[in-house]
C-alpha cells in the first residue's frame, strides 16, 4: 500500500516539475486567443523566438494577442504572479483603465533587487547603468511602485527602446478615450536563468475591439555592444565595442558661456581649443551632467 502511494507521489512530483519548467519557458498560444483573431498553435519559448537582429522588438503571431473572450471586460483589474522558487517574476496582466493610472509621481523602487540584479556601468550605455529595474507593467499604466512581482532586471535598451514606446501608446490611448486596454507582459526565462531573455507583450483595446490598440511583440533584453550571461546577470563589453571606445581619441570641449559641448570632428571643435570659455570633459555624459548640451553641427 505504502509503495502504491509512493508511486503516485512520484508521478505527481514529476508532473509538477515539468509544469514548473514549462511555465517559465513557454507560453501556450493555443490556450489564449481573442475570439475572431488569428489563432495559432505556436508556443513562445526561448527556442522559437528569432535571434535579435538589431531591432528592439519583433512581432509575434502576426501581431495578434491571445486573450480569451472572457477577458474582455470594461472593469479594470491588475494581477501579478507570485515569484517562483528562484525568486523570478511571472506573468503580469491588467485591464488598464483610468482608475488604475497614477495620480502622483513615481516613488522609489531602489530597495527591490530583482533576480540577476547587478549594478554595473558602461560608457556606451545611455545613462551608463546597464540594468534598470524594469516594470513589467509600466508605472504610467497601473501606478505600481516597488512591487517585486512587477520588476525584473532589464537592460536600459529594453526598457527605453523596447518597452516604453508600447507603454506610451497604451497610456495615451486610455487617457484620450477613457477606454480599457488588456495588457499582459510575460517575462521569458531560459531554464534556471536569473535574467529574462526578454518580455512578451500583448495588448488589446476592449471597447473598440482592438481597432486602436492591438499588438503582440517580444522585446529583447539585450544591450548593443554588451554580452550578458543570463544565468547570473554578469556582463562584459564586446570586443568590437571595446575597440571602438579605445579608438576614440580626444577630449570633449565645452563652452562655459553657451553651455554647448563639441566632440572631435564637429564644426567648432578645433576653434574651441583656444577659446577663453573652454571647459574640458572626458566623456559626453560628463558634459551632460554638468548641464551642457551637444552642438548640432
Amino acid at each position: 500500500m505504502k509503495r502504491k502511494y509512493y508511486k503516485i507521489w512520484l508521478i505527481a512530483a514529476l508532473i509538477t516539475g515539468i509544469l514548473f519548467l514549462t511555465s517559465c519557458n513557454a507560453v501556450d498560444y493555443s490556450a489564449k486567443s481573442v475570439q475572431g483573431a488569428v489563432k495559432s498553435d505556436k508556443t513562445v519559448s526561448v527556442s522559437n523566438i528569432p535571434e535579435y537582429q538589431g531591432e528592439p522588438y519583433v512581432v509575434l503571431n502576426e501581431n495578434m494577442p491571445m486573450f480569451e473572450e472572457s477577458d474582455m471586460t470594461q472593469t479594470s483589474f491588475e494581477q501579478y504572479s507570485e515569484l517562483d522558487s528562484l525568486g523570478r517574476c511571472g506573468v503580469a496582466f491588467a485591464n488598464v483603465g483610468m482608475d488604475l493610472m497614477p495620480t502622483e509621481d513615481r516613488g522609489s523602487i531602489s530597495q527591490i533587487k530583482p533576480t540577476g540584479w547587478q549594478s554595473v556601468q558602461y560608457d556606451n550605455v545611455d545613462g551608463k547603468y546597464l540594468y534598470n529595474r524594469c516594470h513589467l507593467i509600466g508605472y504610467q499604466l497601473t501606478a505600481e511602485n516597488a512591487n517585486e512581482k512587477n520588476l525584473i532586471t532589464g537592460t536600459r535598451y529594453m526598457n527605453v527602446e523596447g518597452m516604453l514606446p508600447f507603454e506610451n501608446m497604451v497610456a495615451d490611448y486610455v487617457k484620450e478615450t477613457n477606454h480599457h486596454v488588456l495588457y499582459r507582459v510575460t517575462p521569458i526565462f531560459s531554464g534556471t536563468d536569473l535574467v529574462a531573455k526578454g518580455v512578451q507583450i500583448e495588448a488589446y483595446s476592449v471597447e473598440d475591439r482592438g481597432e486602436a490598440i492591438c499588438f503582440h511583440v517580444f522585446v529583447y533584453n539585450v544591450q548593443p555592444g554588451i554580452t550578458i550571461d543570463y544565468s547570473t546577470g554578469e556582463s562584459h563589453l564586446e570586443e568590437a565595442a571595446a575597440q571602438k571606445m579605445d579608438s576614440f581619441q580626444g577630449e570633449i570641449r565645452g563652452n562655459s558661456s553657451s553651455k554647448i559641448y563639441h566632440c572631435p570632428g564637429q564644426a567648432s571643435y578645433e576653434q574651441m581649443a583656444t577659446s577663453e570659455h573652454l571647459v574640458i570633459f572626458q566623456t559626453e555624459q560628463e558634459a551632460i551632467e554638468a548641464g551642457y548640451r551637444k552642438a548640432k553641427r
Binding site: P165, N168, D172, E176, I213
Partner: protein, 139 residues
Amino acid sequence: MNVIVCLDDRQGMMFYNRRQSQDRKLRERILKLCSGNVLWMNAYSYKLYAETANDFIYVDENFLSKAQKGEFCLVESVLLKPYEDKIEQLIVFWWNRHYPADFYFDLNLKDWKKESEEEFQGSSHDKITEEIYTKKGND
C-alpha cells in the same frame, strides 16, 4: 496642397496599420486650421473625424492625387514622396513621444524651411508641437 501629418520622436506614423496616437484637441485644431477650405483624407482617417460632420471634409483613397492648390490633406498612412512637388506647405504635429512604428514619414525636413513653431496642450498629450514648413527656395 497643404499636407498635415502627426509624427512621433522618430518620425513614425503608424504601427501595424494603426495610427500611433490620437488627440481630441489636436483634431479640433486641425479642423479650425482648415476651416473654409477643403480637407482631404482617406476612409481610415475619416473614422476619427466622422462625428464632427464637416461638409468641407472630402474622403477619397486617392486624395493626394485629387487635392488642388491651397487645399488641405490629412496624411496618416500614405507615402508622400511621389507627391512632394505638389506640396506647398507641410504642417507637422509632433507628439513629443516615442511610440512603436513600422511606417514612417518619408520626406526629409532638411529640404523644407520652418516658418513657425507653436506648442499647445492636447487632451491627452502634455505638449504637442505644431511646425509649419514651406519649400526651400520659395522665397
